[in-house]
Symmetry: D2
Subunit: 406 residues, 4 copies
């Protein structure tokens, strides 16, 4: 039935003036990086639930990520987290990835899980700890070179819990100094993406609390520093797509960490809480791809799309497949927006028509389209079912319980 459904879809969209061929090409080209840590155990502060079959080392994590890519065709790279994914031989790790059809993507330092970092890493009042933390960031630049990655992705978990606990301005200076040193170490073709977070684990203040702080330091550093938007890192009621549009316009949007949330930084499967928000984010990106300014267009083209979730209660690989399908769905819908119609309504100041021109695209069923694309790419029509029907779920059971976790 999906062929018939697709034919109808194509006819409908063509009638609307949508170039379906182009839409298909764009969807095929969408690459979403999955995180190595998304395949390990995770949890809340109350409990990390242990699952059988979770990968025991970086090599197994990449194997799992490769399965997701094989089934979806959309995840050619895998982000790694250091020291969780520290290995003696990065060449070997890269080769392992390559053999499985993927490559290593963003390198993520970890400056929040050692005892010394309790009161801050690169913003710690103790210069010895700051030095150690910055050295770790520099090490990650080296690892990125070693694995041929062009992205170092920085989440600094620093913050304070109480008024007065830290000197806010001094900590800002220390953070800028550390980042400046990292920036200097970047090769020409490498970008550092700077993530911000409204709260947690610092509850009173986080040193990089919002896009404005991430943007400001990126701006002061130079063109190789950009902002990374984690969709769960904002206060309630934030218009995330506005921030996306703003950063695109300033040519400072570097990438995304996709996930979803209802209240705090829940790190749930992307697209499950408010799918319309994801659609509206893609609308801003697609609109920017047609900007008059080549710099804006180029920024939009180079966005690094990454999943960053902590699915604690679901089986890991299926949860990742679901995430990828959800991103594809909203991206596909956003590509169906008739941007000319939207713009005409905006110019005519027709509020209802403009709103409707955006939302009508959201109402289409893009499953026939996505299935057809998968068929054309030689992928299973239903990647989730294909995974469940495969031998992989059983195969990994031999790993036992107590694999990698964070």
């Amino acid at each position: 039935m999906h062929e018939r459904a697709y034919q109808l879809f194509e006819a409908q969209q063509t009638e609307r003036g949508i170039d379906v061929q182009q839409v298909k090409e764009k969807i095929k080209a969408l690459a979403i990086e999955t995180p190595s840590w998304g395949y390990g155990d995770s949890g809340t502060r109350f409990k990390v639930f242990k699952k059988v079959g979770v990968p025991r080392d970086p090599f197994e994590k990449i194997s799992d990520a490769a399965v997701v890519h094989r089934l979806t065709g959309a995840c050619p790279s895998v982000a790694i987290h250091i020291p969780w994914d520290k290995v003696d031989d990065y060449d070997k790790l890269s080769k392992h990835a390559k053999e499985l059809g993927v490559r290593i993507g963003g390198v993520n330092p970890n400056v929040f899980q050692e005892e010394e970092y309790m009161l801050g890493s690169i913003t710690n009042a103790d210069p010895v700890i700051r030095r150690k933390a910055t050295n770790h960031l520099l090490e990650c630049v080296d690892i990125a070179k070693a694995v041929n990655s062009d992205i170092v992705s920085l989440w600094i978990a620093d913050g304070t819990n109480y008024p007065g606990q830290g000197d806010i301005r001094k900590r800002k200076h220390w953070l800028h100094e550390s980042f400046a040193e990292v920036y200097q170490a970047l090769p020409d073709d490498m970008r550092m993406l700077i993530e911000y977070k409204f709260f947690e684990p610092g509850f009173y203040h986080t040193d990089l609390a919002d896009w404005g702080m991430a943007y400001n330091v990126a701006n002061q550093l130079g063109p190789k520093a950009q902002v990374l938007v984690d969709t769960g890192h904002h206060p309630q009621g934030t218009n995330v797509e506005h921030i996306v549009a703003y950063l695109l316009d300033e040519q400072k949007l570097g990438g995304f960490h996709f996930n979803s949330r209802k209240y705090a930084d829940d790190d749930l499967i992307v697209g499950t809480s408010n799918p319309y928000e994801l659609f509206l984010i893609f609308y801003q990106i697609i609109d920017a791809l047609q900007d008059a300014d080549a710099g804006v267009r180029q920024t939009a083209e180079n966005i690094a799309y990454m999943i960053d979730q902590s699915h604690a209660i679901e089986p890991k690989i299926p949860a990742m497949i679901r995430s990828i399908l959800n991103v594809q769905t909203q991206y596909a819908k956003a590509l169906l927006i008739d941007l000319n119609k939207v713009r005409k309504a905006q110019e005519a100041q027709d509020v209802l028509a403009a709103e409707q021109a955006v939302r009508e695209a959201f109402e289409f069923d893009v499953n026939p389209l996505l299935q057809t694309i998968r068929e054309e790419m030689g992928l299973p029509l239903n990647p989730m079912q294909a995974y469940l029907d495969s031998s992989y779920p059983e195969q990994i059971l031999e790993r036992g319980i107590g694999g990698a976790s964070w």
Copy 2:
């Protein structure tokens, strides 16, 4: 200098028509329960920082709690958490407490840290797991009897992460059924306090999400079931003191878990984030103590005040002492409200005068009062300094690292 300060304070308050003697008696009578788990290691989902000197078993936790009581005179009981504080011989534990000048207070079951509870405990779709969870609640009633406690304090961490994951109405029924069974098991002089929480660890829905759900089930159960208000378990912008006043009026306020927060359930030291809120909570309680209805007055008199914090980065015992001092400070200030003045302004519909009549009490410095009270009770004037100057901080170092945690 504090004598001179106290003399002035007494003169000032007497002039305002405040019965300082009565205020002093009330402050001396304020009992705040500290939680055994507040003396162990804790953290965020990102990291539990390990401290040297943390108690290694329930006996040592009670020893620490007894030190806090010895220094503040305000913490005669200690809440326990089962199975964290499970022992073979509860009589021995009770005696240990008694010898140290304290007693065991509220018994808190734990239905969130076993693998079976991943998708719910008493609301789990699997009847075997529900049975196990209810049995654990019943066990806690038995333990409460064994330790001569009159409170079982129930936080059910059940919830779901996604729309559709659970059958919301069925889960409600299961929860009510389980609670009914527990209620039946309560001896006449024991209360069950029902805690609610807006989010976490369930991110899509928590089965007891707000005071209304806790109140409704308590109401259906009977007079021995009451609501427990954790000050950090509300959505942003909530008027917590309104809920307190409402529950008092319905004679269903059973107790508090005190802590503070800025964004989510941060579990910081009570009174550090918005001390005025704590003051306003006490204002409602003190006002209810003068209610025309004896039932309301009695409810207010029987409130169980408990600390429930997760101070992850501070030394444990000092953090607890600070919490107690902060609660005393706000309680003392609230006792300085001239309620007649407030009520007259309310009746005269004088908004500014009514607001000012409440807030002027908040502006007084109650340190001289609290110091004088401590002097009269034979306590150190500055319990924090007395602790730091004592041999206890050094003494506990021999416990080493890696004590109890949650």
Copy 3:
């Protein structure tokens, strides 16, 4: 093309086991009340923008509402607001409605726009003002009788701006007393729906702040008192569908005020901010319609669906049509949920399958279905276009500027 699309839709759904005929009947039976005040000028506190063609009196408001019903077939009744819609002869107003194919629905008292109500209406410290306000509520019961309506819908805007300003417990008692008097006056077949609101216009506390307070008073009054859920009246992060399910289970959900919001009580067109939330609300209702308990089923069947928006910048009638279409869309999608599939996955504790079973229904394009239904009902396929193409928009221009507003 919509016939072809509908054929495909029917085939798809039949294959999924959905009884499309039944779905169509249910959608045809969905009645959504529009509010008379939704046709007048409105705005924010900063500015009410005046539009040409806005109705000048209650008769013209009903005429506009009748147009919306004529085009959508879904809005057979019109809510009125007293005194905004006060007329000398309610019989005449009812006949006017009847002639235009609609009837008068819920009667809404207004106790917030007279100078006396500045510090409260039925909770005012002044008994004379309380009497006046209660009398107005009773007058609305009489008006409801006069217009043959069976619903009085109560939003009490009372609250305070400052701590201490009002006596929270006394105000609660006064509110309960007033409602008890109204309840006594209700004829057997009339319901009073009690609305709650988290904030505004009272900024410190609102006397009916949440569903729990509305539920509690409704419970104490009796079966003719129920709770009304306004989708915009909750704190950020609230799971509204949970409250819906909870109230259904307690047989206390009386109706809805639909609208949407991003931050506060924005009163935007329903379904424009987070359409998935509306879908999930309908999921809970449809699920409850199959409950084992006849009382729960009956409650779900008798829900009063009402629009309550303040679309300040859009043309009024088109904004209302859009609202109706959005509600129909999400209701139709929710009817496509395979409830058996959901329940099986819930029982099997398969988190991903259960979530997906709910969300897959959201992904279908229900436009072909809705168009076919309209065709079968003799309605325009596209009610919005039909309106814009009609002579009505021009016709109302003769009303000039400066019509009704709130």
Copy 4:
């Protein structure tokens, strides 16, 4: 008794190492601007309550502001809003102010109360409207020159209500263009302060949504453009003092609009909702006044403190007096922080000691200090009582009802 209290206070603070003389001088030097519109009627979207005695024109507003200054000694300037305060002869207005002992301060344009601005002013898709709006901003620069003011304070109420309604990036460009034109028109000694707001009246997006957007445009414009922080314009859970510290460090904090709120932009009397927040804001400012960088110190010295409230239910002049007293109280407390002690604890990484070093200052009763200062300045000890006892409240009754409102 206050002399005795002050003597004790002085002794206590001197013992703590605080230079009381310096504290007194700083408090005496604190100037807080009151807004002309704060003396007129205001309300919520539901109702503007009309009060007897409200000023009928700009001259009477300034008279009222002068009374507040006469009683508090802290409000030497009055902000004006154009066109609300438009007069034919600004020289006459300035002289009127001078005669009464005050002067005209910040000039605030109004680009939200004309029909043309419904869909935006300087970001409107229509260039004619943008031109009109920018001309109004330029007019305000001229008025500022005419009244010898050095501040133009810009709140642009532009935003959209729905996704797709406006072109976010284009609107950003239009806003920047308009501001650039205004910047060019500024004389050397005039600053433009750029205000941001998270929501309202635009509910989907506001064009200047947060400090980051205001900062970015100010940065691109140059040193005469700075950010204005309205304490009520942030999402829930925001650490406002962090933003303050950040902007100070970047030398871009220009001023404040003080008020308080519990949920949205409630515009209540400053210091009534969470007084500790105001204290913590002043702590950051006072700390920055000792910064090593002269630019940071100078920025902190030049902050323009302004009240911006919409007290709808209170008598106007008393509400303003209360606001001033509340700001003085928190400023005075912040001046009692022993900054050396805080910094030592920060350096020693002693979390509890650092928090306590800040909060202990908040606990002091500064009333004796403020009363002594008033005595020394020849002001009434209790400005509120002095006002109520004066003939002014009765005198203004002759103005009748229906004065200025917004």
